[in-house]
Symmetry: C2
Subunit: 223 residues, 2 copies
DNA sequence: TGACTCTCGATTGTTAACAACTTATGATAA
DNA sequence: TTATCATAAGTTGTTAACAATCGAGAGTCA
């Protein structure tokens, strides 16, 4: 029943990155993480190796681990990969979605709405990503779902680095339109709206100025 | 100039899996790997964590690491993911390919031909995968290229487990047709041929019987 | 024969101490 | 002031010993 400790560390850091609590470039010291999670360095090292394999952490020999800082070129490639993968996921959803699946999507839209209404930015970020993750689950292909989790994680880093407006989230009405098309079984429209949605997201990024935000590790890893 | 030791272990095991020298289910004992690579267990453990993150190794707590054995469902999902990703890669290649790129593809076809003519099965396997990897490189999107590397690795495991005929490789003429379409700048044809090619590959698999092949670790890891 | 338990060997997990490296600090000299 | 270099502190890498767990096999009993 007890989960492996290193996976707990991985998930904890992954969540912090996805929620934009851990900004790009933050140093992930072994001792610091050991203290935070109350374990020995061995587990931390394993966790860092896993995160490095997922491309959200850069591991410099003899110099430690840092949250990855995607370049503008990385950003373009990540968004192209998202279009490729999410298109297939969306097609799967249109073809497989049960009434219950669509109800789940609608419930999610309501939650997103509520978080936005309350001006709850952290929740809005999480739910915005959650929409895409939920689609991936409903698509029924865990291989694609796992890749999309990675890509949305990296998208969070990219948005945190290069976003212009104070808020750059998925526009809620775009999600709503996609769900409507799925419910209507209109595959072509769903795919078109999704593609546009991802392009809008990418367009809301300004590659000129990269804002550097130093973060406190222990503060970021509560939750 | 010296590469990190754990990455050397990872690459070595990855190559062995891609070349079908390491069959699915093979136990990867820490002590055995330490002996083979002449290092301490710490590096081996880090390498196994990385391989687990790449989904080519299953890590069972307190029971050790084993080369992953994909299920038939995994297989379907892997091939669907390949179609999604390689389609985008191929589109990129058609749009970006220089004369030199196309020359590289043609050279690769000749090598494949030669290996087949010599009945050199190991080389044929490696080159067959190499064609897809080369396309991924020429596509210019390292994010997609990395995913495709993972997926071709898992394809090797799948083919090793479920392939019916003694030889289940990419049909060389199918690769040839794709290159011809790329050279002609005929995007639609290239995409269609690639999609068909991947479906043929998947069709050449018999999910009924799963042949179990036990392998020797030290023998598989030469090269 | 079949099922169950116990013990032993082997493997993985944990911990701590030590070595090697990197970086920051401060002193020295031009 | 600026540059260079030496020292020191902190961090990562390595190693070895020890603890915990699992699986196989022998043995026992119905």
């Amino acid at each position: 029943m007890d989960k492996p400790l290193d996976l707990l560390i991985v998930d904890s850091i992954l969540d912090a990155i996805a929620d934009q609590r851990l900004p790009a470039g933050t140093k992930l010291g072994e001792q610091a993480l050991s203290d935070i999670f109350g374990c020995n360095r061995a587990n931390v090292r394993r966790a860092l190796a896993t995160l490095t394999a997922h491309q959200v952490v850069d591991l410099l020999p003899n110099r430690g681990a840092y949250v990855a800082t995607p370049t503008p070129e990385d950003a373009r490639n990540v968004f192209q990969a998202r279009r490729a993968i999410e298109t297939t996921i969306c097609r799967n959803v249109v073809r497989r979605a049960t009434a219950e699946d669509i109800a789940a999507l609608r419930r999610h839209l309501i939650e997103e709405d509520a978080a936005r209404g309350r001006d709850n930015r952290p929740a809005a970020i999480r739910l915005s990503r959650g929409f895409h993750i939920l689609m991936a689950r409903l698509g029924g292909n865990p291989v694609l779902a796992r890749y999309l989790e990675e890509l949305t994680m990296r998208s969070s880093l990219i948005i945190g680095l290069y976003a212009t407006a104070p808020v750059t989230l998925c526009a809620e009405d775009e999600h709503r339109g996609i769900v409507a098309a799925i419910e209507a079984g209109d595959e072509a429209t769903a795919l078109r709206l999704l593609d546009e949605h991802l392009r809008h997201l990418e367009a809301g990024i300004d590659f000129d100025r990269e804002r550097v935000v130093a973060g406190s590790l222990s503060a970021a890893l509560r939750g």
